[in-house]
């Protein structure tokens, strides 16, 4: 059944738009960590689609850290009634392999890319951004960086790091200084009383937009053992259950900070995505739903094309 688009919706989300110094090919993106490095699934088929990338504005790649990480112990996922709790622990190939192997392959395949980066010291964001600029500055399909200041699964850095507005500003400023011609986004945690302190700090430090939200701190209990399902006890809650939380955070940011926002959290359908756009988001990201359906973001992009 085709979605009846509301009268106010005039934008073609598969048309290019400006974000800071860069033109991105569209407004429907996949969220970091839910579509790997954007290389898996490239030749999957679905009726009516050329590929899972059709109409996508960007694949935000899995967060990479300066050194590779093996991630957290299994199990890493706990499904709940309306969402999922993950504790992947930022398993990633490391920044070197990302630069040497992943980014060139994405470029070769023409996948629009935003690179997600995490680090434990603000200066490292500058070092990584500078290397990206050197390695991929001439790439047509690498559009920007999302600094992940919010993943709740790592001990060092991560959480508390991204809750301190001054540190957020430092990280953003360090990356900005090395990214003259690419979009810079700061991904924020919702696990804080006032997210606008973070968004304000990020925008003032030079971010072109903030991505909101990362996962909400959550826990699931296995009643047979009486223990949390995840060995690390807590994980990041995502999926349909967090949609209203994400909408509230996006609204707060738009209303109070005035900065640009990329909406993330709980989007599974075109209707969900429209709610973020209604609140003023410039783009949206699809996370957990992309894990269930590699064509989720492509389907949403297609449904939201007016006319």
């Amino acid at each position: 059944m085709a979605l009846q688009l509301p009268a106010w919706w005039k934008i073609d989300p598969t048309a290019p738009f400006e974000l800071g110094p860069r033109r991105l090919p569209g407004r429907i993106w996949t969220a970091s960590g839910c579509f790997a490095y954007g290389l898996t699934g490239h030749d999957f088929a679905a009726p009516g689609f050329a590929s899972p990338y059709e109409g996508l504005g960007a694949v935000v790649t899995k967060t990479v850290t300066p050194a590779p990480r093996a991630g957290n112990p299994m199990p890493r996922l706990a499904e709940t009634a309306c969402g999922a709790i993950n504790s992947i622990g930022l398993e990633n190939v490391g920044f070197d392999r990302f630069c040497d192997e992943v980014l060139p392959e994405l470029e070769r395949r023409g996948v629009p890319t935003v690179a997600s980066l995490a680090a434990t010291r603000p200066a490292e964001f500058g070092t990584m951004a500078a290397r990206l600029h050197r390695v991929a500055g001439g790439f047509a399909h690498w559009h920007g960086v999302e600094v992940n200041l919010s993943c709740p699964n790592v001990a060092e850095g991560g959480h508390d790091f991204g809750r301190d507005p001054a540190t957020v500003a430092e990280c953003v400023a360090a990356a900005r200084a090395e990214l003259p011609d690419r979009a810079l986004l700061a991904k924020l945690t919702p696990n804080i009383t006032d997210i606008t302190e973070l968004s304000g700090a990020a925008i003032n430090a030079g971010a072109d937009a903030v991505s909101a939200i990362n996962t909400v701190l959550g826990l699931e209990v296995d009643l047979t053992t009486g223990q949390p399902v995840l060995p690390r006890r807590f994980g990041g809650y995502s999926g349909p259950a967090v949609l209203p939380i994400a909408l509230a955070k996006v609204d707060e940011i738009v209303q109070k900070t005035g900065g640009k926002v990329v909406g993330v959290g709980g989007i599974a359908t075109a209707t969900d995505a429209l709610k973020f756009f209604a609140l003023g988001a410039v783009a949206v990201q699809v996370g957990t739903a992309q894990m269930r359906d590699p064509f989720a973001a492509a389907r949403i992009a297609r449904e939201l094309r007016p006319g």
Partner: protein, 293 residues
Amino acid sequence: MLRLEAAVPEFSPVPTVSTTAAFLANVRESAGLIRLDVSLARPVPFAAGQFAMVNLAGEHSLVFSRPFSILSATEERMSFLYRVVGRGTAALAGLRAGQELTILGPLGRPFPGPGAVGGKPVVLIAGGVGLPPLHNWLTRHGRPGDLGFFGGRDGQDIPWQLLDERWQISVDERTDIPAGREAWPGRVADFAARHAALQGAQPRVVFSCGPIPMLKAVAELAAARGWACHVSLEEHMGCGYGACKGCVVPVVDDGGAGWRNATCCVEGPVFSADEIRWDRYGKPAVPLPTIEG
């Protein structure tokens, strides 16, 4: 191709398809095992050992699809064999005629094909819901000399209709064995190890799928005889196609640590038994720091 990202492994005869399917029937094959038959909107050709991510379509869909090995398929139909263990499998058991499902498949690395076993007879050892991939292999590729072993709790636990004379059956308790059928007492790996047909110098290849303790026992059996062994692992899966890293298993690695995380859904679910670091299986991948979050 990036090793961590092998999207559609080189053996795969066809790309993975995202399609819908309509529920046809749930057929009870034993006290605990149900065969799910669906009619496919598009054909999903697959190799024995590959799996599909299955979900309910539309508003009833689960947050994550569930991985199931493919028992059999034609151009129009596909069958799975499952046990109800939680929310997802309970939802499958409650399906009504015509209800729509989503299928993403085929996924993962299959068992070696008949051309890749060096002409050696194949021994297939299955426990419980580990039957589908091996049943499919034997049905499609089995030659005289290939032999299946299936282990269950008791006679009620055995899908007798599915298991023809090529399958040897073992049970923990010898109760409810139908007239004219045989079942040996004991664990399936022990049964296979002692089976007359497997004595002697004939080199063989072993395929196995079932609970981890069983797979370990089978791997030891094969190693003791110097036989190649391939096992299919059931890890928890979020996406089934390499997108989330929610399904890792420890495998041997030449690097300093001696092991690395393999992505079960893409690099597996079938692994060579000597690739797996059994000693690390189920152990924390990193020391657990006492932190929150």
